[in-house]
């Protein structure tokens, strides 16, 4: 029994080491003087701590601009996605309207279509609308989140009908019911979905790579990918860039991990 306990705790420690090492190494190398990481054996701790790569990124490589683009786009995507999907998810769960069943079946069927299929025509469409290389173009796919709609609907099903009915008898309009009763009840799933969208937009790569053609509009992942082709040899600079990209989402996730994990399990285990 004792041996089993020791072995299991050792195994956990080993997994933790493998999981954490790349992230800790990334942070450590970002503080090393130029060229130090390109030596053998690879040093694990900086011989001299320096912020020069962060300075270089923000002063010469336009990192501040990319950070702002990522932050602004993720925030706007979150607001837009929530304001489109939350009312719709609630209506599909709790309001009867003609065509509901048929629309719902259409959405279920659409769930199996990967969004990448429409990438090329969507690009041409937005090009025709003059939205290539704009924030609006980058935000468009977040408006059409079928997954988000389902997540909200699933949660809204648990709102008791009696509560809505009672408000209606008291003369509340549907808009008032939505604002005063439904939104507060849906608060946990709104946080979860908002977190999903924010992280999803921040981490997204293929669509911003296609639609944001001008360097001044790049998000962090697109900028980092371009930077890594240009500065392959500058390991320390690249690691500083990776830290700037990863740290915000990692901190956000750790702060709100309860909401994230609960929503993730609700979305996948119940299927």
């Amino acid at each position: 029994m004792k041996i089993r306990s020791i072995l299991l705790n050792l195994a956990v420690a080993l997994i933790a080491l493998i999981v954490l090492f790349p992230l800790v190494w990334m942070a450590s190398v970002s503080f090393m003087p130029t060229g130090e990481a390109a030596t053998f054996p690879p040093p694990l701790v900086p011989s001299r701590w320096t912020l020069e790569h962060y300075q270089d990124l923000f002063l010469n490589q336009g990192m501040g601009r990319y950070l702002w683009n990522s932050f602004a786009l993720a925030t706007l995507a979150t607001i837009l996605a929530l304001s489109f999907t939350v009312p719709a998810g609630y209506a599909f769960a709790k309001l009867k309207f003609t065509g509901r069943e048929r629309l719902f079946q259409f959405l279920v069927a659409a769930l199996v279509v990967p969004a990448q299929i429409g990438t090329l025509p969507l690009f041409l469409m937005l090009k025709g609308m003059g939205l290539v290389n704009t924030y609006a173009g980058a935000l468009v796919p977040w408006l059409a989140s079928i997954f988000g709609l389902f997540l909200v609907r699933q949660y809204a099903l648990s709102i008791p009908d009696e509560m809505l009915e009672a408000a209606r008898i008291d003369g509340a309009s549907e808009g008032q019911i939505f604002r005063r009763i439904v939104l507060p009840t849906l608060q946990p799933i709104i946080v979860t979905l908002g977190l999903f969208v924010f992280l999803g937009s921040w981490n997204d790569f293929l669509w911003p790579l296609i639609i944001l053609t001008d360097q001044s509009n790049y998000t962090l992942p697109v900028a980092l990918a371009a930077l890594s082709r240009e500065h392959v040899q500058d390991i320390e600079l690249m690691m500083a860039g990776a830290v700037v990209t990863v740290a915000p989402v990692l901190i956000l996730f750790l702060a709100l991990q309860r909401y994230y994990i609960r929503g993730m399990l609700a979305g996948s285990v119940k299927g």
Binding site: R4, L8, N9, A11, V12, V19, F21, P22, V29, P41, P42, S83, F84, P87, A88, Y90, A91, L95, K96, F97, L103, A110, V112, V113, P114, A115, Q116, I117, P121, L122, F123, L124, V140, P141, L143, A144, I146, R168, E174, F178, N203, F205, L206, I210, L220, L224, A225, S228, R229, M238, M239, G241, A242, T245, V246, L250, I261, L265, K270, G271
Partner: protein
Amino acid sequence: MTVADPAISAVRGSRGLAARERAAWGFVAPAMIAIGLFFALPVIAALLLSLTDFDIYALANLDNLRFVGLQNYERLMTNPLFWGAMKNTLTFAVLGVPLSIAASLAAAVILNARVVKWRPIWRVMFFAPYVTTLVATAVVWRYLLHTRYGVINWGLESIGLPAVDWLGQPSTSIPAILMFVVWKIFGYNMLIFLAVLQTVPDDLYEAARIDGAGPWKQFRHVTLPAIAPTMLLVSIISVASFFQLFAEPYVMTQGGPAQSTVTVLYFMYEEGFKWWNLGSASAVAFVLFLCILAITLVQLAVAKRVGAYQ
């Protein structure tokens, strides 16, 4: 607020219904319009686009657009680069799915043991790579896998093994990328497995122990049967996600060496946005879609057979 006359109440009720219908459409319409415009329409347009020779000339002037029937598909079927991309994608899936599921399951079983300390902390920590930015961690792993200065080769050499040119030769480029992918995603399925494992009553393990079953037998006869339906479905879902690899090869190898890490989605991206053969790229997108659809149909059939999964 009391209603005396049934006729009045009926009128009020129907008025209420009409108002509710209008309100419901108000709630649903923005999302449905967005889905129709920015999802359904492009998907249908992709099918039509794949039947044309839309290229850089058509991009400049639509008069150059011609309807070519299934020619794009025929040309794909005889294109060795496309078949190479299909083969690479399949290799990623065939190696990656069992590898990532095994890692997820092992971590879940270990974390499910009561003797392990600080379990909630490990749970969150092991999941954390999943939420990190793919491009950034792929850049980190490119350096960890570096032939001369990489930590992984340093580890190999310090236990007396030869250094490997991980991302520089076709035979190891896919396994190298897979190491990164498994590191990044295993926490996701681990959480799903953990949720299922926590529904297995402790009595079952107790009974097995009394019957003299060791850890391996307990795993085989208690854990595995409990988790088998979930495992099956999770693997099929994973296949679909391995079919959509793109940023990993884009950042780590740019499809190389010798095209060995060009995936179907990477091929589509290059065909469409590097060479501007949008017609042919749409055909690639549709073949990808059919593959994923086939996998999903298998998934639904399996789900029906094993019953509702949790």
